[in-house]
């Protein structure tokens, strides 16, 4: 349709002094950027197709490649930034809603980076994790008001079902369909090896993965895909997905081309048909409806599984959380606005929701003020990027964290944010067999294990520095945090002092 006003975003810089025409780049690019020109006797590139996923760069044996952002610019305009203009062009061309994937990349404050962690000096000793036990085990679930003992002094009280984690990090919900079977396998195996949980997302659970059930959180979302009694019983816990940080108030849409045989079986929908998760659950239009779903799920699993309710961090998240805590849920999962996704409308992803740090601070404080903090555990996700983010989240009051993007990065994702195309060159966000096999679960599992092991070491180091040798003593321990460059209001919400105070 007329002139294409979009100049390619990236340039493929090929060092011909180094290029040996091995054509690995060509073979590995699902976007068909690279090709060999027999007449020129050299590699050529169609840059308009490049998404900067870095696959070719990573595999080039002579390091002859790099991908750079084009420096071709429109006339400078603070109000009309180049991206804004390009988006207008794109929409003028397609007439469609702009789609993006992974987390909100815009320049909003990252509060994790505006909080500093404490350490012991003189008046109390720091603890060396190499010499002393440094405990990171956590339990998620309702806590009893008190513990009853019999005459012999043995415990009489029967606890509500709990999730026991060896470390306060779980893999967040990513559905089979949005990510590949091999990615799922790796998450399941790593979670099992490390004594934590992964989350099926709303894609159902492949029978082959039932063996990892003790470390699986099965999700029930508005589409109810793949939900049946065995599925509910297969997991360690059930998560009701009310919302997602990347697209609060929006449903999900897995295009038919990603619904192959296996996916269709797992999701229990016809092959090739679009999988549409409605924005709301059509049986939950109010908090009391949620309560009913929670208890029907508990009934269905004879009260053997804790129920998680996952919501997006939105403006009055504290009040919503309080409602959920009173609805019978055992755990609340809050997803910040930087959370990743396989596909979301760009406008939603970039403009809806609030940062997880503020949501967490508000929710934890509110539940304590209402004296119901023990009735529910808090799990937070939505861009936990490092061990220090985890430590800060726990100090703010979280029981555990969900990591999604970080986990995908560990297995090769380069955040090119083109998941929606289904042509993931790293074999993660795709169902194309030739691409899926690029992710060898043996390697991916090990990498995930390594990531969690490394983070846990760092968490232990930081705990030791604070003179804390068990993670529960860090939970909600906000004195261990100080703000840096934060306004009085932000400090008030986070309930931390400013550095120097």
């Amino acid at each position: 349709m007329g002139i294409n006003l979009l100049y390619p975003k990236y340039e493929v810089i090929r060092n011909f002094d180094r290029c040996i025409e091995c054509r690995v780049c060509e073979r590995q690019c699902a976007n068909e950027v690279h090709s060999y020109d027999p007449e020129l006797k050299r590699m050529v590139a169609d840059e308009s197709k490049c998404v900067d996923c870095q696959r070719c760069v990573a595999l080039c044996p002579t390091r002859a490649l790099k991908i750079v952002e084009t420096d071709n610019t429109f006339k400078k305009n603070v109000n009309w930034k180049q991206q804004t203009i390009e988006e207008v062009y794109r929409q003028a061309e397609s007439g469609g809603v702009l789609l993006s994937s992974m987390g909100n990349p815009q320049e909003y404050p990252v509060y994790w980076d505006k909080m500093l962690i404490n350490a012991s000096q003189v008046t109390n000793p720091s603890i060396d994790p190499l010499r002393e036990p440094m405990e990171t085990k956590v339990f998620l679930g309702k806590k009893p008001k008190n513990i009853e003992l019999d005459e012999a002094g043995n415990v009489k009280t029967i606890l509500e079902p709990q999730i026991e984690l060896e470390l306060p990090i779980m893999f967040s919900a990513m559905s089979y369909g949005s990510i590949s079977e091999n990615a799922h396998k790796a998450l399941a195996r790593a979670a099992t090896k490390m004594g934590t949980c992964y989350n099926t997302g709303e894609g159902g659970l492949n029978k082959e993965l039932y063996q990892y059930g003790e470390h699986t959180i099965v999700q029930v979302a508005s589409g109810r895909f793949g939900v049946h009694p065995d599925y509910l019983m297969a997991g360690k816990a059930i998560e009701i997905k009310m919302g997602q940080g990347a697209k609060p108030g929006i449903g999900g849409h897995l295009p038919g081309r990603k619904i192959g045989e296996k996916v269709s079986q797992t999701r229990m929908i016809p092959q090739g048909s679009d999988a549409i998760s409605p924005a709301p659950h059509h049986d939950i239009y109010s908090i009391e409806d949620l309560r009913q779903l929670i208890f029907s799920l508990k009934e269905a699993t004879n009260y053997s599984k804790p129920v998680i309710v996952k919501i997006a961090a939105v403006h009055n998240v504290a009040a919503i959380a309080s409602g959920i805590a009173r609805s019978g849920a055992d755990i609340i999962a809050i997803d910040g606005f930087r959370g990743g996704t396989g596909a979301a409308p760009t406008r939603i992803r970039d403009n809806v929701g609030i940062p997880i740090e503020l949501a967490l601070a508000a929710v934890d404080q509110r539940l304590r003020e209402e004296k119901i903090r023990n009735d529910i555990s808090i799990v937070v996700g939505g861009s936990i990027r490092s061990a220090s983010d985890v430590v800060k989240a726990i100090a703010l009051g979280a029981d555990a964290c969900y990591i999604g993007t970080a986990a995908l990065l560990a297995i090769g994702c380069h955040l090119c944010r083109k998941c929606q195309t289904g042509k993931c060159n790293w074999g993660i966000a795709t169902q194309r067999e030739d691409l899926v096999k690029r992710l060898n679960p043996d390697i991916a599992t090990k990498r995930l294990e390594n990531l969690l092991t490394a983070w846990n070491h760092e968490i232990q180091e930081m705990m030791g520095g604070m003179g804390i040798n068990s993670i529960e003593a860090l939970k909600g321990n906000r004195l261990m945090l100080r703000g840096i460059g934060l306004s009085a209001k932000e400090l008030e919400i986070l309930q931390i002092k400013h550095a120097g105070e």
Partner: protein, 367 residues
């Protein structure tokens, strides 16, 4: 300069405790003073104090309120409040002796009182038990009547504390005039100046009194948890928080001091493997249900209570503490010297393991 309650002040300390297993009032106040005095260098003159048990036999059934007043207005307001809800059986100034090193003393009064629950009911606090009523009164007065501070409120026990070195504080309060069956003492080394009288230790609630040496790293986790149960941490001191935790677990949850020690100085997960299953299950349940009451960081505490005493170290034993015994009298202190100072020929003396509670309960012979 901010005082306790306005800022959190880390501090090191000396602690000491003595108890007679038979519950005889054979321990003169001077004995505990001599014990703590030897650890002079463990405090810096910014706080010292004592708790004595069995010292008010004549008023054994009445709550003994020890109160600091900064002003007459405070005193009047407070006494008006007390008159309204309590039968004040006896009261008066706590006798002191002027000691040069102890300055700016507030007015220090003592009241032996009986809660008038009927009155309490009438102001809508129904149903309520006596102790809860007393606790709420203390919280109310300490946080609402400016200049009045109740620092001791148990039965047949009393806390005596001030800004100064403990031995001077003992002399100031003329402790050689009291006899009891159990004493604890504290010498404080806050990292700021000047201490505030109310901020000195022991810290008491009902007949629980705590002396503590250490700086707990779990403080805010513990505080924010315990505050969900109507405790107000106004001083921001470890001792205050620990006292509330013990009150919560012992008085409100009815857990024994043995079990309390398994919660606040819980065994490591790795130790559970070698335990008998029932015990392991118990600890796992405790650590799950009361996870936020685990106290980490260095501490050694001596908790006095009616007819008993508990001493406990953090589970890594990051603070010193020794226990010794001679003829039914048990001695506890930060340093062996503090015990030797008052008893040379001990039957035994040893350092308890981290997390190992030393609990002594009085067993009186029938008269």
């Amino acid at each position: 300069m901010l005082r306790e309650g306005e800022i959190r002040i880390p501090s090191g300390c000396a602690i000491s405790g003595i108890i007679d297993r038979k519950g005889r009032r054979c321990l003169n106040g001077q004995k505990i003073v001599d014990s703590i005095a030897i650890m002079h260098d463990r405090s810096n003159g910014l706080g010292g104090g004592f708790a004595g048990y069995g010292i008010y036999p004549e008023f054994a059934d009445l709550y003994a309120f020890h109160i600091f007043y900064d002003t007459m207005e405070a005193k009047e307001a407070c006494e008006r409040y007390l008159d309204r809800y309590f039968e004040v059986v006896s009261y008066g100034i706590i006798p002191t002796k002027s000691v040069e090193s102890i300055q700016d003393s507030p007015m220090i009064m003592r009241y032996f009182v009986n809660p008038l629950l009927t009155k309490a009911k009438t102001i809508g606090k129904v149903p309520i038990d006596e102790e809860t009523f007393v606790v709420e009164t203390v919280f109310y007065i300490n946080s609402n009547i400016d200049g009045a501070y109740i620092f001791s409120n148990g039965k047949n026990m009393g806390i005596f504390k001030a800004v100064g070195f403990p031995e001077d504080v003992g002399e100031f309060y003329r402790l050689n005039e009291y006899d009891g069956y159990s004493w604890t003492a504290h010498g404080r080394y806050p990292t700021n100046t000047p201490g505030w009288w109310g901020g000195a230790h022991p810290f008491g609630l009902l007949d629980y009194s705590i002396v503590h040496n250490g700086e707990i790293s779990s403080y805010d986790a513990n505080r924010r948890y315990i505050e969900m149960f109507d405790y107000k941490c106004t001083l921001l001191t470890d001792t205050e928080a620990i006292t509330y935790i013990i009150d919560f677990l012992n008085r409100k949850n009815g857990l024994s001091f043995e079990d309390i020690s398994k919660i606040i100085a819980a065994p490591f997960w790795s130790e559970l493997e070698h335990m008998d299953p029932a015990e392991a299950k118990k600890i796992k349940t405790f650590r799950n249900a009361f996870s936020s009451l685990l106290i980490t960081g260095p501490f050694s505490i001596i908790c006095g209570f009616t007819d008993g005493i508990m001493a406990l170290n953090d589970r890594l034993k990051l603070r010193s503490m020794v226990v010794g015994e001679k003829d039914d009298i048990v001695y506890l202190a930060s340093e062996e010297a503090a015990i030797r100072a008052v008893c040379q020929d001990l039957d035994y003396i040893r350092a308890p393991k981290g997390g190992e509670p030393i609990i002594v309960r009085v067993e009186r012979e029938e008269k």
